[in-house]
Subunit: 546 residues, 2 copies
């Protein structure tokens, strides 16, 4: 249960500042915090109310505009927590009240709290980062935010303005473009490789290298050189593609050479799948898989594991692993960048919901209850020696929480793997697939399968659309809806419609929202029927209907 | 239980746009939303999963990157809710699970949800606004946010840039200055009247009028005319002052004449107190006070009740009425402004925490359980006829929730009134007060009492500080801490140290954070001792110690 701990590099705070301050936006530089309290007070107050060890008289606090906890109407919360995905699985109880959990009871979690996040949660998350994706330098930190949308907003508002160019995968989670362009910055699309070959999926590194080498003479020479690459590196949204470690290393070298930051948005890597083999339902996950095995054998490693410079900013979220309604996410980066984001949070959202943090924390703690003590006794080394624990939480408890959480993640991965397998089995059994009307790149992580339409299957039909793929997809979409299935069009998720006009011919399907595998099987069949019908429709039909 | 319903003015959407679009910041105008989904889908999906009444085949949704609720680890939540402030009071239970409450079960509240806020909560809040502070025009709306800090950040980012001047009370909740100045805008302080005369407390309207009339020749002529007045109108932070309705009307007329918006930050008006009479503990609140009596006889009316133009933006929060950890607030304004803030939320935080919304909603619903049906049978007219209710919530239930919530607010007001009374009784019984060393303006609302130091009590001492009031306060502060009590210095909460240098001689004390009245009595005595000691110290002592 130990993890590799090569001595991490120490980058001095001064070096971080000198190296990264020119990446800050003008707006970030203009920010100034006006506060009337001493930030240290907030944490001191929590643990040391109406007492003051330095003074003979315990001090009565009359400063903060904080209601006493007696004014909170909620007296206690009982949680009933699923150990597994299905409602038939065993469950566990947790209680939150004025005393429990002792390190995060209601008077702390429902009070104003530290903007960075509640201390026991920060320690838990640092342990996860250190074990799954340990950055090779020492002075990194993390900050909670209100979901990845909030993380990205804060990040781009801190790092981009009208002088900034951001590299983005040509198909992406398009709302992020709103964050970037709202600051006046420009987005430049990067070609993606849609290939089943895992070593070469995702960002076309040759294209990227060529673009950077020839920036001054290339199509974006009117823009400044890019200072940021934004990538959804694993189980990419919308394509489902995952960048190999070899290509991550090549991209990181380019980031060093051309001095840009890498923003890695990674909601999906804990939902990792084995290589797909049709009809075999290969599923390595089982309820007794150890945390170590899960991490070592199945998790795709983050860009941040290559990050000797502190130039990677990693975004994680609990929307997919717990529930979107928590609005709980976190950002990992070097101390200097985290400080800027922290200062920004201080004047915007402050701490994420304490209710969300309390429910999250108590759920994870309850998940640890069935972890045997001896399971943990071998794993105290899991607690990263550099992480100070909150006084009230022992290393043993933290380790149990960590293992309890990963047992949940293993179950999630198991369920998603099974969903991916049956969906791909069904899709590849459709007549449309067998006739070559569409292709599939089996995803190795995430929620999405991209269904690539073979436009050349019926050249006559394509001609009728004048090679206008967005219109073609829109037509196909209507047929699919008539067949009772609704997907996202690739043409709606591109950075530049012009750049991607010839290869946006795909549909994004999610395996996450359906209630069960039967629904996915039915949906996959309908996709097959719909695509078949599409290629068999004549021009006349399409004219009449649309 | 009915409320006055004069026919509200209709301001056309076109007129709102033409009247208010020039108030938008450059950044707001640059915002653009890139989304790949149809926003209508999200709400449709909630109520109509895998079914589609227009089509013969129920559509299977494979679009949104939303996990099915079976992936949420929380199966159910049981809440134990206080009916009154003290733990000895009766309590009520509420359950949240996959079916309950039927209009807001876990699959809705813990899923991605509408950015504006969950529908039943929006209806509940609209009912509150319509009954407590009904705007006299029809096309207003409201939007939830993540606490008032988030509300203010979004608001000022939408309304201010480097060309904007914002009028601010000379002493204020200083973090708001961070929000304003981060956009490049300038703050101009407004004189406050520290008077016990309730008709003339707060913003000095004569000063304001003079400032506006003589802007071009005044001290701020280098700045553009103000386009916003930011005011904490009731139980002001830090002064505890409340602007009278007469003065609100005068200020509103000035806003019309000089065309500025009024941002009314109002966390405190539900904590309203009767006129203070020493030693009488006047407390009109009792557990059977009707909602109508509370609203009509005790609530200070918002600026928005005067707002025939749609130029008032009102901010409310549940931090003081429920718990700060919810990070739940809302903004009331005209449709056009709300639309801008909504669009901004779409690319930043999206919806506030669903966990917070679920706990808040279920708590309020539970509070309604002991409200007798006949109490409500007379009050169906409370449901504003213009407010469409979510299909699943009846007007009767909504009315009960409304009355249940106000019973809680009555109890809060009762407790805070009692705290205010004992604190003022104790403070005014101190030797320091009797000797005239400090003055008090009894607050009629809110959490704060400002303790105005009578600097002229000991001219020798003042001379020793060269009339430098911040240094004098800092000295006093150290003596108070030695006496075991900690307050906020007025000099730390001013917009301009220069502007307020001669009248920042006060301390802010809160009556909210102490655990009980005994602690407030002890604290008040210590304040008296500390001030007495301060005025009796000699220069030598202060030199030695500081």
């Amino acid at each position: 249960m130990s993890y590799p701990t090569p001595s991490p590099i120490v980058i001095s705070e001064e070096k971080l500042q000198s190296q990264y301050s020119h990446f800050l936006s003008k707006r970030c530089k203009n920010r100034k915090l006006y506060s009337f309290w001493d930030p240290a007070d907030l944490s001191a107050k929590r643990n040391d109310r109406a007492s003051n060890s330095d003074k003979s008289v315990p001090v009565i606090e009359l400063t903060g505009g904080m209601p006493n906890e007696i004014f909170f109407p909620i007296r206690s919360i009982e949680l009933n927590i699923n150990r597994g995905i299905h409602t038939t699985s065993p469950f566990i109880n947790a209680r939150i009240d004025n005393k429990l959990p002792r390190e995060l009871p209601i008077p702390i979690s429902f009070q104003y709290s530290q903007t960075q996040g509640l201390a026991p949660i920060l320690d838990f998350l640092k342990l996860i980062v250190a074990n799954c994706n340990n950055p090779p330098y020492q002075n990194w930190d993390l900050l909670l935010a209100n979901g990845s949308s909030d993380s990205m907003f804060k990040l781009f508002d801190t790092l981009t303005d009208e002088t900034t160019t951001v590299l983005v995968e040509e198909f992406t989670f398009s709302p992020v473009l709103s964050n970037i362009t709202a600051t006046g910055a420009s987005c430049v699309p990067l070609q993606l490789n849609f290939t089943s070959n895992p070593s070469n999926q995702g960002i076309n590194v040759t294209y990227l290298q060529h673009l950077l080498e020839n920036w001054q003479s290339g199509p974006y020479k009117h823009l400044n050189r890019p200072s940021i690459l934004y990538t959804i590196s694993t189980g990419q949204n919308p394509t489902g593609l995952t960048i190999s470690m070899e290509n991550r290393a090549r991209i990181y070298k380019l980031a060093q050479k051309y001095n840009f930051l890498i923003v890695e948005d990674d909601p999906y890597s804990y939902m990792s799948y084995p290589t797909y083999v049709k009809g075999k339902n290969i599923n390595p996950y089982h309820s007794r898989m150890s945390t170590q095995e899960f991490i070592q054998s199945h998790l795709v490693k983050s860009f941040i594991t290559l990050d000797t410079d502190g130039r990677v900013i990693r975004l994680e979220t609990f929307s997919k692993l717990f529930a979107p309604g928590l609005r709980l996410s976190f950002i990992v980066a070097n101390n200097f960048i985290i400080k800027q984001l922290f200062d920004y949070s201080e004047i915007t959202t402050k701490a994420p919901s304490g209710a969300s943090q309390a429910l999250f924390y108590s759920t994870v703690k309850a998940m640890s209850e069935h972890i045997p003590n001896n399971y943990c006794s071998t794993s105290t080394s899991l607690a990263h020696p550099n992480i100070p624990l909150p006084s009230d939480l022992s290393h043993g408890e933290l380790n149990k929480m960590y293992n309890g959480w990963f047992q949940w993640l293993v179950r999630l991965a198991q369920e998603y793997t099974s969903r991916r397998n049956v969906t791909l089995d069904t899709l590849t059994n459709t007549t449309a697939y067998k006739l070559g009307m569409f292709y599939i790149t089996p995803p190795s992580a995430g929620m999405f399968i991209s269904i690539k339409i073979n436009s050349s299957y019926n050249n006559k039909l394509i001609d009728e659309f004048n090679n206008d793929i967005p219109t073609l997809l829109s037509h196909l979409n209507k047929i699919l809806i008539q067949n009772g299935v609704k997907l996202v069009l690739g043409s709606n998720m591109c950075v530049s419609k012009e750049f991607s006009k010839n290869h946006c011919d795909f549909l994004r399907m999610t395996i996450a929202y359906s209630k069960d595998e039967n629904e996915l099987i039915e949906a996959s069949k309908r996709i097959g029927y719909g695509i078949e019908q599409f290629f068999n429709t004549s021009r006349n039909i399409s004219n009449k209907e649309f």
